[in-house]
Symmetry: C2
Subunit: 392 residues, 2 copies
């Protein structure tokens, strides 16, 4: 759809945009210009004159458009782990009489780790209750303070029904947090319509904002003036440059800011969001489903050794397809050496992300041909492919 707006190295078929999106063609220039013309020429004046201070809100609004959130309900900053902590701390404070954080075994570990740390600090008897993804709905009861889920499972691509689960949890009196790490930029999300209280996400996967790009947080509009931020940094203060005591939370979503935003990373994010300006999330989703369906049918026809780990029905699947293969790790390394980049998740999952902005049917067919070739020739079974890297 926008292949000419991304840099993908010659000969590479990049199916790992669910982990780190490729470089948008305009990003390098935008970053250079931020560095040389803004930092280099304006120095400290950049905070006002180049608008750095307001960018987290402006970029938040642009992300809001892609995830169904109205203006003024999303702000960017920090990392996803930190944003999870902020959302969960605020959510628990809304249900002081309840002690259960309900999540599932498909949630990304850092979300659960941050919950562990928060409840340890609070030392108020909270616990994280984990159930299998398919049992979440049944596990919701009136003891649940917060339902915290990642919409799309990072291993299998299984997609939760955001509307139904939010409604069920809220009927039971729970507060709901959605992690959109694998949703934002991948398909349509209707945050406001879902009624959920909080959402968080990252911008370096399907939004292509680069390694270490800032995260984002959404707070339902009626709550943003009442929640008390746990990570109460000066840029979330009502008047950061008054340098006053005590902390007084800023207006609305501003209070979810913490410290100085990463201005160079914001330049990359800005260029990355430009790509979405004249394309609809509905069209992206349609194309993504077509690519995933094609990939599944090609793999199942040509590589029957692999077992589908993702849901077969497109409506309960994100924009990635995973297969199981006992020797998935070396197989994936061999694939990467041949230019087909996906990734591996322990113990036996190989994952492939399909981002129609820069992937087309031809890429999918060629990737499966290479996969078939590697499996048939056994070329994956070489010692160098078995050696584990630190980051897998």
């Amino acid at each position: 759809m926008k292949k000419d707006q991304f840099i993908v190295p010659e000969g590479m078929i990049y199916l790992d945009g669910n982990s780190l999106g490729p470089l948008p063609s305009a990003a390098a220039g935008r970053i250079s210009s931020m560095v040389e013309d803004e930092w280099g020429e304006l120095l400290i004046k950049g905070w006002n004159q180049a608008g750095w201070m307001q960018q987290p809100i402006q970029l938040g609004d642009r992300i809001g458009k892609l995830v169904g959130a109205p203006s003024g309900t999303v702000v960017i900053g920090d990392t996803l782990s930190i944003k999870v902590y902020q959302a969960l701390a605020a959510a628990l404070a809304m249900r002081p009489d309840r002690k259960v954080i309900l999540s599932d075994t498909g949630n990304f570990p850092t979300d659960l780790y941050m919950a562990d740390g928060l409840i340890k600090s609070m030392d108020a008897g909270h616990q994280v209750q984990l159930v299998e993804p398919e049992n979440v709905a049944d596990a919701i009861d009136d003891k649940v303070a917060v339902l915290m889920l990642t919409q799309v499972d990072y291993k299998t691509g299984r997609k939760h029904d955001m509307m139904a689960l939010t409604q069920k949890a809220q009927e039971a009196g729970a507060v709901v947090i959605w992690d959109l790490a694998h949703s934002a930029g991948a398909f349509e999300v209707e945050l406001e319509q879902s009624g959920c209280e909080f959402a968080v996400g990252c911008t370096y996967k399907y939004l292509n904002a680069g390694p270490g790009a800032p995260a984002f947080i959404y707070v339902r509009r009626d709550l943003s003036e009442t929640i008390e931020p746990a990570l109460s940094g000066w840029l979330g203060h009502d008047a950061p440059f008054a340098f006053e005591r005590p902390y007084r939370p800023g207006s609305g979503i501003e209070r979810m800011r913490v410290g100085t935003p990463s201005v160079i990373q914001m330049a990359a994010l800005e260029a990355a969001l430009d790509v979405f300006d004249d394309v609809s999330m509905a069209d992206i989703r349609t194309r993504s489903v077509a690519l995933c369906e094609l990939f599944i049918s090609e793999v199942e026809t040509k590589c029957p050794q692999l077992k589908l780990a993702s849901p077969r029905q497109p409506d309960i699947r994100g924009s990635q397809v995973s297969f199981r293969y006992a020797d998935g790790y070396p197989l994936l390394q061999a694939l990467i050496e041949r230019g087909v980049v996906g990734d591996f998740r322990s113990p036996d999952i190989i994952r492939f992300g399909f981002a129609p902005l820069y992937i087309d049917e031809d890429d999918v067919r060629r990737a499966v041909e290479i996969l078939k070739d590697i499996l048939e020739s056994g070329e994956w079974d070489q010692p160098r492919f078995h050696k584990r890297a630190k980051v897998t």
Copy 2:
């Protein structure tokens, strides 16, 4: 000392490196190469092949050299506010029987705001006790759990005696946290020698790593294997890519990592630290004292309307000089228009940072000439200079 290694616009005398350092000449190229050759060419493989994953520790070690901390005791990441929170949470957990966080009225507000948020979450009866900077030593008693100070006062440049206060606090059984925001890269710091348990700092002031550059945290080596991180993110886990439960803190300083590091910002930090490679902090300090002394004597001679707000003795002053002037705000705006960039802090302080890497005696003399001219001509008293910007 290294003027040719920085970009400072023609006609600008930049005395605001205590707020945001200027662009190192090599940074733009290093950032471009990270963006185009690493993100653009390696994509997800950059985490291993370009060493992104290890960079927070490697850059931490390089900062450690500048602040007297041994290898393996410093890691970079997040913002200073977040690092304060981590240090304070770990420090309070070390003294469960004590409830007082002692700090001073000269501490930067975000450090205190983060403390407010943390103790609210903990809800265990902690309180922040603030005293005047000169009364800190006397306020230390056996109720103090944590002494948390910024070494150099952001308004006045007054510098605490790190050795003496650390010793006194530890003798009283308190844990000590130093904020080195205005120390790192400005003068010699002897973290290890001081014996303090924790330190935090930012890299965008005297270290010149750019707007939104990552912060750093130091943990005394004997503690780093025992403290329990409150912000327990996946990159602080012992095996982040094992995706396992429950959270198990990583080895040593690694556990103070939280989420994905801002890789583009790290490229800027890397180039910024290169500038320090062949210059000693002792030489920087000697030159900084000379510049500050010259500035004070020139201002007091030529602009007697201004009252020195910084300590007169160099040994209790950081690398900045502040003066009081009732109309400091418009005066500073007029100065900026004439190319002399300092900044203003409410209600009447004008501050000037002296970074000898790119500032010399000639700059100091010219800056004071312009200041004198603006004061004598009254040109500062124009409506446009009175108009307050959002970021001051």
